[in-house]
Amino acid sequence: MARINSKTGDFAANSNRGWLERIGLIGLSSIEAPLLAALVTGSPLLLIGAHGTAKSLLLTRVASALGLEFRHYNASLLNFDDLVGFPLPGKDGTLQYVRTPASIWGAGAVIFDEISRCRPDIQNKLFPIIHERKVQGISLDGLRYRWAAMNPPTTDDDDNGYSGSEPLDAALADRFAFIVDMPTWAHFTLAQQLAVIQTEEKSISQSEVRYLHEVISRTEKILSRLDTTFTNGIAQYVQLVIALLAQAGLLLSPRRATLLYRNILAVNAASLAINPNVGLSDVTLVALRSSLPQRAQGIEIPEVKLLSAHKEAIRSIHLSLKDPLRAILCASSPLERIQLAVKATKLPKSEFSRVTADALAQLPHGSREAAIVHLFETGAVGRLNAAIAAQAGESYRGIATPVNFSETVHSRDSRYITWSRIKDLLSKLNPNEPRAHLQANALASLFAKKQLATPQDALNAFTAFARTDDQLRAA
């Protein structure tokens, strides 16, 4: 696939030092591309990191290097008057503000430090500034960059969080296009650690300023020349990765879909401007990581699920819009994916096997057994590869045929109590109804395999089987 329609040179590739290091920020090369993308697009940027990870330094150095008139507010101490100045009634009856050196008027960049420690009423007032560059409904002409920084928010499950650093409101977090985790000391190389230890406060030289302007300009050029094959591919990636993350419990808003798309394009352009040798998949993953608002909300993002969704979505870039695999992967529930995969008879065996195995693994007990019955009753099991079909066959055998096991149990044992519950549940089934035998066998089989630990497990599996079986047969 043609990736970037770039006709620009390769001066950045010859540089050993990244643009952040050139302005005195060491060990941050991993976040250079998303930060550059944020500069080029002017999108709101939020840095999250432990204390002492150079969040504030980074933002102030960048603002200085760009020669911006910027305001640095500590949001935890901020009063609204600090932002807008003192209100005074004008001669024509309108409200005017007495501008102070610290007020936001005329600033090219604002930095809201410690935004997670900000009072909710102030957060609400920051909202339109970050979102639409307005304060009290008045446009902030000249304000291009809206940046913020915070410590990792405290969560109920995390004892190591910062007390006082509250999770951001979901709507506010969603207004930041880029949410970037700061690299920590442990991520630095030994040489970088030494360099940080021996760092000296130095002003930024004109040559480094020129370099930064050049790399920004170069990124803008690349971004403006991205070809449609590439941008369409990224749109497909975004569509799919959002569906896959939703399946993993990470919901993203439609606005985030747009932001993610723009971010990925911009980070790819920035990455090309910095180092053209980095691959599409790696850069896109960096962009994805830098675009998830959950980090600001104190919601954990499981790494395995993130990587798995990314890997699946990046593969889809090559799929046509009519490819059934796209629809299958975009389906929100594992059961729906199985149904679609069974219907898509032209799906290659390897894809059918992978989709089915993944979906089965995500289904709860009861639903999984009903889905396996569906695979056999439709004959779709024959489209699975042998290893997955063999596992399905083992389960199906326990549902459609006798289960033999022998075990000693005490009457006070939880298994005894669970079996008592199963007995009650099975007594409700009508033996004259053929499907009832499947349901009974499935439950007995799960019990025999010790996959039902409590009476509640038994009830859940019992109802899940019936519900799923009905759903699959109705379809």
Binding site: G379, V381, A386, G393, T401
Partner: protein, 172 residues
Amino acid sequence: MSDHTSLLHNMSAPPKSVVSYEGLSSGFTIKKLPDGSGHVTNHHSDASLFGTPIRFSLPVGWIGLKPIKILALLNIDLDEGSYDDPSKQLATLINKRAEELSLPEGCAVIATEPSHPILWSDPLATLAITSKCTDTVWLRSKTPSIIAAVQRESISLLVPPRFAIKLPEAKC
């Protein structure tokens, strides 16, 4: 379905139970044993099999046969070019026969019972099953394993009800 609680048991030992399950029709019980010992069992009768079991059986003396011998017993002459590797010719025949069987694309393999009917008695049909089976499933599209094909005397598949109507009448 019934529950039996013993009147006498060793008070120093926690009571134990026998739990049995013989399929939904046959009942499922919990029995408490007087001596405090017991076991849990599940038994399921053929009546509660969901689907139609069918059996495939190799002729006596076929276990462990080499492909060349199998082809000879099938009265099939070796093709030109198959002298070096007759298993390829046998695999082709097996695949062809597998396509002809009116079975679903995949079936569960179940424990063989003499009562399971044999619908296809020709050895090639049996080889088309035994060579394409794992321990739990038969797959029509699986590459046949000639070695595995002659390791089992007989094998039974469970055909789901929807496909059972396409099966021929039992021959024995």
